[in-house]
């Protein structure tokens, strides 16, 4: 008479809290998730194939469209990867400016994460508080390169132009007002009982699993592994910067929240150092108008806000376009951990897990 039936439910691809067109196939026993299968590919545009048919200069534009909330990080990875392929040394001033913008973009990305993650869990106000500061950052990007999201901020060999007049002043103004803002978010969430109830011990992923699944970024650092590419394989001007890698041992959603907030403070520190120590000089290396590569193969990882963003280039002899371009997208690899994090837990925890992984579908599907 009674039969025990599992409900199969599709979370997405159109759903308020899957952060894009992620589809998660859930098997539910009541509210308990027995099986969780992420299904991706709804935003696949074939960026890798397109970039094989674009020159090294043109291809960067496509990287904006991958992780569209952290496009400057993507630009940095592309530019540095190509520079590594050709052996170009970038002027020091350009490195500093790149570092500063990338860190500002990390702030913007983390703010967007905080906003949406809190909204997913039901805390609505943090969303707008975080967007308030993010607007300021986007205005800075617009002042620098004319675009708020799809920035294409850097050029191969350096920067197209130096900082616009007044940029440093505005950036400093943001620096001055930003730290109290983080305190404001913390006031709303860090000691909030419901927030803690919803996040402490939820979606745990310990260090061994993280490493086995290739999970990087704040998720790995919240599992107690101090692995940050900015320190491990310093790129841009990170070697000259003084900052710490925040880690937490708990490996749960709350720890990731704390790690990301601490990272925001560290990014703030790095930006301050960039502003204060900005060297004079040119911003562009001397490179030919047309880049023709030799047979070469490079993999260049950088620390994107979501984790390790790697660009793999294969250059052809005399080729102006990459023979092969592959993106190691952090969200793509991190999302594999979703099943492990959520199976056996409740439906609401799936939402928290998707939020805490901080996935961007543009990057996963490419």
């Amino acid at each position: 008479m009674f039969k025990n039936e599992e409900m199969e439910i599709n979370l997405g691809p159109q759903h308020p809290s899957t952060h894009g067109v992620l589809r998660v196939k859930l098997h539910l026993d009541g509210e308990t998730v027995t099986k969780c299968t992420p299904i991706i590919g709804y935003l696949h545009r074939g960026v890798e194939k397109i970039c094989e048919n674009q020159t090294y200069f043109q291809g960067q534009v496509w990287t904006d469209r991958m992780d569209y909330v952290a496009s400057i990080s993507n630009n940095l990875g592309w530019a540095e990867g190509v520079e590594k392929l050709f052996g170009i040394e970038v002027p020091r001033r350009a490195k500093y400016i790149r570092t500063m913008l990338t860190e500002q973009n990390r702030l913007a990305s983390h703010l967007l994460w905080l906003a949406t993650h809190a909204l997913d869990i039901g805390a609505m106000t943090v969303f707008l508080y975080a967007f308030r500061e993010r607007e300021y950052l986007l205005d800075l990007f617009e002042a620098f390169c004319g675009a708020r999201l799809t920035t294409t901020a850097f050029r191969i060999g350096g920067l197209r132009e130096d900082l616009p007049p007044g940029f440093i002043k505005s950036a400093q103004a943001f620096q001055d007002r930003f730290l109290p803002c983080i305190d404001e978010y913390e006031e709303l969430l860090t000691e909030n009982r419901i927030w803690k109830k919803r996040t402490v011990g939820v979606a745990k992923l310990n260090a061994e699993d993280c490493i086995a699944l290739g999970v990087t970024g704040p998720v790995l650092r919240a599992a107690g592994v101090p692995y940050d590419i900015r320190k491990a394989f310093p790129n841009a001007a990170y070697a000259e910067m003084d900052f710490e890698i925040p880690t937490r041992p708990e490996a749960d959603t709350y720890a990731r929240y704390l790690v990301r907030l601490a990272e925001m403070r560290q990014s703030h520190r790095i930006i301050q150092q960039c502003i204060e120590g900005l060297p004079e000089g040119p911003v562009m290396a001397k490179i030919p108008k047309i880049l023709r590569s030799e047979v070469n193969e490079v993999y260049h990882p950088i620390e994107a806000p979501k984790g390790e963003l790697g660009y793999y280039f294969v250059g052809e002899k005399g080729g102006t376009m990459p023979y092969r371009m592959h993106v190691r997208a952090p969200s793509f690899v991190n999302l594999q951990a979703l099943s492990k994090m959520t199976e056996g837990r409740l439906l609401a925890d799936v939402i928290a897990a998707i939020g805490t992984l901080d996935v961007v579908l543009g990057e996963i599907d490419r």
Partner: protein, 385 residues
Amino acid sequence: MPTMNLTQTMVMGLIQVVAVLILIFVMVPLLTFAERKVIGYIQVRLGATRTAGGHVGITGALNRGMWAMGKVPMLSILRGLPVFVADILKLILKEDIIPAKAERSVFTLAPIISVLAAFGVFSAIAFYPGALFTFPARFPIVGGLPFMGFISDVNVGVLYILALSSVGVYGIVLGAWASNSKYPLLGGLRSAAQIISYEVPLTLSLLTPVLLAGSLNFKDLSVRLSTGADMHWLAIFPLFVGFFVYTTCGFAETNRTPFDLPEAETELVAGFHTEYSGMKFGFFYLAEYTNMIVVSCFASAFFLGGYYLLPFGLQRFIPASVPFLGQPSILFFFLKVFTILFAFLWVRATVPRYRYDQLMDVGWKYLLPLTLVNLFAAALIRFAF
């Protein structure tokens, strides 16, 4: 009160009912507007401003003048006020979709049950214990009759209200089931579990004032509690605890943050009303906001002193001879109602949402024992002192 014949009774009843309905239909849209504005201001934004009488007419000229001077118009708090009219128009004019595989009759019935249960409660709520005014004698039929602050003076009003407000959940559950869709079903299950769980501490917490005052009649209860007649001063403590438990359960009963699981939009898309649109959705919406008003009326009447100024029976320190502050007034009642409604909005903008199992924990593990202890304390105070 002069005795009334049948016609007079019926006409008076009709007038009272229409008056209360008008009250509801004015308060609910205003509440939605207030929600936009209050949450907007908490979240460092302006809330609804677009649908504004801000571009034409006198206010429009003022607004444009202020914008021209580079200032945000001071009238901006009222900008967007017409949005509630727009809201209602939108709901009425929208296409009313019934999914092909839905159970048509139940699907239609569900919002009606919800909204009727919510409205029916008002028949026993007293906004004022006595007559608000008397109709002048020149009026036909009702001339010389008092206009009371309540529709009917039911002896077991509290019981009636509790019974009727429990019916509301049927609307939600039936609507969820009739949608024949997965997200609404989950929302309906959550709703059923949640409302049944919270019904218990809610009722028990209402028993505290009932026990202390010894009445089930809405206005008698309220008046006795506020004036503190034959109540020991210690009764303030169980009343205080009861107030918090009642408000908490009230949040849960009305599906408001942090207990908005049945319609948790980031989890269940829109919960039980995912498949609803147009005026059917509007009915659910209306029921939810009406329930908020009901909960506020209850908390106001039983715990916050009702028609008197001071809450928790502290009114005894103001003698009845004091002209305005010592007398009952409908203003005090609505002041408290609006305060609690504001708290509803404030909480929504502040806290995250509970998870399903935690919600059950809060209900059964904390609130229920607390109310039982509280009830025992109330009984002790009532009979020992």
